[in-house]
């Protein structure tokens, strides 16, 4: 923040109500002996100090004066007179701040700068850690989903009630075969290996082809980066009405009805 932006905050800083970044900003300017903020805050301290007059007037105990003077006298015996105020002895003006004050201010500025640097680094590290954590959670979730799916696929595949089907490539005979396991209640499991990668704008879509009527969409899927497919989709048609299972290539998001020729197909007996 600039000195002009900090100017309205001087009194609040002197009052001690500022927090967080605003307070740090003012302190940073003071630490580097800012020629606008240092006198600005000094004047603000004078203004704020006048709030002392808002305290209800109270009379100090009469004995207090004597106590103070007694304490002073006991210290006065040991203490020699201290140096007098420095009066200007030549036209050359004395520095406003003594050397130690500059050194202290410089040290404070260094410490503040270092602390802010450390803090920024820590914020960055924290942000990076959060990002990594989010990614790890997402990866973990994806892995868990995959494990769950594979368990379901295995369950359908291993069930004695499942009907195994082989969906053969119809267009390109060099394409791998797709396996399907049709279970009356658990759904249809689809597995395949060594599937070719697909453009992102395209997807594969599984259809139930009924004995009469239009094909019914069952699932949309894509091979994973390893070229594998493993999924289970619900059976939304009585099994005895299914004449065939077919897979077509469709635009991403799928289609209500097939828009391309069947790429894989298996007859259901």
């Amino acid at each position: 923040m600039t000195c002009e932006q900090l100017n309205p905050l001087y009194e609040e800083y002197a009052l001690g109500v500022l927090e967080g970044a605003e307070r740090s900003e003012v302190e940073a300017h003071l630490a580097r002996a800012c020629d606008k903020c240092v006198p600005g805050v000094a004047r603000a301290r004078w203004v704020v100090s006048q709030l002392a007059h808002a305290a209800p007037e109270a009379q100090p105990p009469a004995a207090l004066r004597g106590k103070i003077m007694e304490a002073v006298k006991s210290t006065a015996e040991d203490a020699p007179p201290v140096a007098s105020f420095e009066k200007p002895k030549s036209p050359r003006t004395s520095p406003v701040f003594p050397v130690w004050a500059w050194a202290a201010a410089a040290a404070l500025a260094l410490i503040t700068g270092y602390a802010m640097h450390r803090m920024n680094n820590q914020y960055d590290q924290l942000a990076q850690l959060r990002k990594e954590m989010k990614l790890a959670i997402a990866q973990n979730q994806a892995l868990q989903n995959q494990i769950d799916m594979e368990r379901m696929v295995n369950s359908v595949m291993m069930s004695p009630d499942s009907m195994p089907l082989k969906l053969m490539p119809t267009k390109d005979k060099g394409m791998p075969m797709v396996h399907a396991y049709l279970h009356p209640h658990m759904g249809v499991a689809i597995t395949a290996d060594q599937m070719p990668s697909m453009p992102s704008a395209r997807t594969l879509q599984l259809w139930f082809v009924p004995k009469s009527g239009k094909p019914m969409s069952v699932a949309i899927f894509r091979p994973d980066p390893m070229g594998q497919i493993a999924l289970v989709a619900p059976v939304n048609m009585p099994q005895n009405e299914i004449a065939a299972l077919a897979v077509t290539e469709e635009p991403a998001g799928g289609s209500p009805q097939p828009t391309s020729a069947i790429a894989w197909m298996a007859q259901v007996n």
Binding site: V48, L51, A52, H53, A55, A71
Partner: protein, 197 residues
């Protein structure tokens, strides 16, 4: 015991704060007595308002004036008037006491060295403006503020609370508290500016 022998003040002429501080540097305890007579009451009133305990207030005021005696060489009148230095030191001491009492771990806002007057032209370098008139000005201003706004400023000054602590204490929105305090301080500044002009 031997204290410095100093010249008596010319009759009918009040010594300035600077002159008294100069004499304190010469170990003239009479100068400290004169400063106590001048500022003892407002300093005690301030400290009592913060600490709320007469016995503690007495100790704090004693500590403040002893500090003035011991650290007189750190005060340079050319940098500004004595009064704000004294008030700020008293307030800090009393707030420290209050914080200790509340067992609050909070960083002290200002060290004593921080509050040394800086090279700035202050509106009242040596009592040109009558102190009692200025005190009345401040009291009148505080009285004229709406109760909630006055309360917010009092919590800040006399109890050392921050913006968010005041918001929490009063149940008001943080933005409202900030606005009250900023507005109140601006009016105080303007009022004191007028008083000094």
């Amino acid at each position: 015991m031997l204290l410095a022998v100093v010249q008596p003040w010319p009759e009918g002429k009040q010594p300035t704060d600077a002159a008294l501080m100069e004499r304190i540097l010469q170990r003239d305890s009479g100068a400290l007595e004169a400063l106590y007579d001048r500022y003892g009451r407002p300093v005690y009133s301030l400290v009592l308002r913060i600490s709320q305990q007469p016995a503690s207030a007495e100790e704090i005021v004693q500590d403040v004036f002893l500090q003035l005696w011991r650290s007189a060489d750190r005060f340079q009148i050319s940098r500004g008037p004595l009064e704000p230095w004294l008030f700020t030191m008293a307030r800090n001491r009393a707030l420290d006491f209050l914080r200790l009492k509340r067992e609050k771990q909070r960083r002290r806002e200002d060290s004593d060295s921080d509050i040394l007057p800086s090279a700035v032209v202050n509106p009242d370098p040596e009592g040109d403006i009558d102190r009692s008139r200025r005190a009345e000005q401040v009291r009148a201003l505080m009285t004229s503020l709406p109760a909630a706004q006055r309360r917010a400023i009092e919590l800040a000054f006399f109890e050392g609370m921050s913006h968010s602590e005041i918001a929490e204490s009063t149940g008001e929105a943080l933005g409202t508290v900030k606005s009250w305090i900023r507005g109140g301080l601006l009016r105080l500044k303007q009022s004191l500016g007028e008083a000094s002009s």
